[in-house]
Amino acid sequence: MTEILVAIAGVGITLCCFSFLYKDNPFYHFAESLYVGISAGYYLSVVSFHQVIKPLLLARLFPQQFASGLAVAGPSDAVFWIPAFLGILMLFKLVPSLSWISRYTIAFVMGVSTGLVLVTSIEQYIIPQIQKSIKPLILVDNVGTSLSNIILVLATICCLFYFFFSTEHKGPLYGNMAKLGIWFLMIFIGASFGSTVMGRLTILIGRFQYLANPLG
């Protein structure tokens, strides 16, 4: 019975959303509002509370009430009042005159995040990308790979030239390299567009497959 109700609700809401393709209409707005309301309710109850706040915070503060398994017999950890306090400060954003209080929480989160970004970025993003771009340019026995490697290195340098905005893209070397950089970026954007088309179509195919068999 529940599965049938799920299918009725699913097909109904799908058709309401598709009705927008004909023209803007109240069915679409109804579906849109219901979707936003339900998603907020879901994120609040199932996601934030049951999957994060309960196991990571409440289970540490009140193990008898919220923990499970062996943790129920564990002691309450008072240190966790600090993140609880910081989290509650965040809710002051709802009161315009006191919203500045939430800045402490934002400042704390930004501090941790920026600290992490600064120490991990070079190792995990810049160095591997540079390593990838260091290739042998001339391979005597393989002209094809040589050409490909030359293009890879040249394209990387040209695109980096293009992304350097501190000076104007002018001059025979700098200007032309930046221009070549644009061309390679266009190839990349074209490839991305081709992939994007595929992605969007896949989602639509998924919808049609669902409509063909909503109980599946």
């Binding site: 609700a9 339900i38 309960k54 941790v112 600064l118 954007i189 074209g190 969007r200």
Partner: protein
């Protein structure tokens, strides 16, 4: 007051960020205070981030309540939104597992047991509750010997009663215990009572079943389908845009279209057929395998551009992080005051 409202938060960011950097580069042992700070601060951040979701939801409710209160045009949709929100929030909160509910499970009581896939319920009678053997658990923790296990073992309340599994017997419509066929050690089939030991979260009363099913209808029926359909509408607009806006107006746009065409064609199995036709062209034909060209395009020119983007974006995010850490960039703290 300006110090408390603006300067002190900037100082907090600086101190916390600097601590994280120092801790990362310090070669101290994992149990040293600095390394403990490095593991504690992200842990708190994770919890705090959950409150931002709560904030977002509450803010949405307040805005829409205000709209309904002022009867602004289209306030009917705000009512729909609020009904959806409260229905989902209530169903979601009560459908989840609660230890209070676990305490109410009585031996001999008739309940509903959720199957492993989370789709349907069966009628069951609780025939026993198994509790954790805390002595054995403590011994295992002490045997493990790592600092975290030893700490847990030391803090255990040995008088606590912790439910491990609940033994249930499956019932038919007339409340008789169902039978199932099993094979004994000698491979002979015999009929036994259908009994299973399950975790307490799977045992629900009638109210729990109602909440679980409501949540399923709202999430799986409405939410998941609405989201997928909203995204899928973009396919129609991509098709429309490719007809109306994808024009070759310059050398750059020609290059973009050529690349898009090759990737689109290379993405479909038809590319192999097209390649076979193209191969019949003398001399250059053997170089015109669409899938190979697509792979090459992605692996060389496109990948090189992507590398430049990743390097540029990483340098950009590092600069922005440094500016935030040093208090030069302050927009994340919001408006005036």
């Amino acid at each position: 007051m300006l110090f408390i409202k603006r300067t002190l938060p900037l100082f907090v960011t600086f101190v916390v960020g600097t601590l994280m950097i120092i801790a990362f580069f310090s070669g101290a042992s994992p149990d040293s205070p600095i390394k403990r700070i490095e593991s504690t601060l992200p842990r708190w951040t994770q919890i705090v981030m959950a409150f931002t979701m709560v904030l977002g939801s509450l803010n949405l409710v307040l805005i829409n309540l205000r709209k309904v209160n002022r009867k602004v045009p289209g306030y009917g949709y705000s009512i729909v939104l609020l009904v959806g929100f409260f229905a989902m929030a209530i169903a979601g909160l009560f459908a989840g597992s609660w230890r209070i509910a676990e305490k109410n499970i009585k031996v001999g009581g008739v309940y509903r047991c959720l199957d492993q896939s989370g789709r349907s319920f069966s009628k069951v009678m609780v025939i026993g509750i198994d509790y954790l053997d805390l002595e054995a658990e403590k011994a295992a923790l002490l045997k493990a010997g790592d600092p975290a296990s030893l700490e847990t073992a030391a803090g255990l309340d040995m008088n606590a009663k912790v439910v491990d599994r609940i033994r249930v017997a499956y019932l038919d419509k007339d409340d008789k215990v169902l039978k199932r066929t099993v094979k004994d050690e000698k491979g002979r089939e015999k009929e036994v009572d259908y009994i299973e030991a399950v975790t307490s979260d799977r045992i629900k009363g009638i109210c729990g079943v109602l909440m679980h099913d409501s949540q399923r209808i709202l999430y799986k029926g409405v939410f998941a389908n609405a989201q997928a359909t909203m995204f899928s509408l973009l396919a129609f607009f991509v098709a429309s845009a490719s007809f109306r806006a994808f024009r070759i107006k310059s050398k750059e746009s020609a290059l973009l279209m050529l690349s898009a065409f090759i990737v689109m064609l290379g993405n479909i199995p038809l590319a192999n057929t097209v390649s076979m036709w193209l191969m019949k062209i003398p001399v250059i034909g053997k170089f015109l395998d669409i899938v190979t060209i697509k792979e090459w395009l992605l692996a060389y020119p496109s990948s090189a551009a992507q590398t430049a983007i990743i390097i540029g974006a990483t340098l950009g995010s590092m600069t922005a992080s440094l500016k935030i850490l040093l208090g030069i960039e302050r927009s994340h703290l919001g408006g005036e005051g």
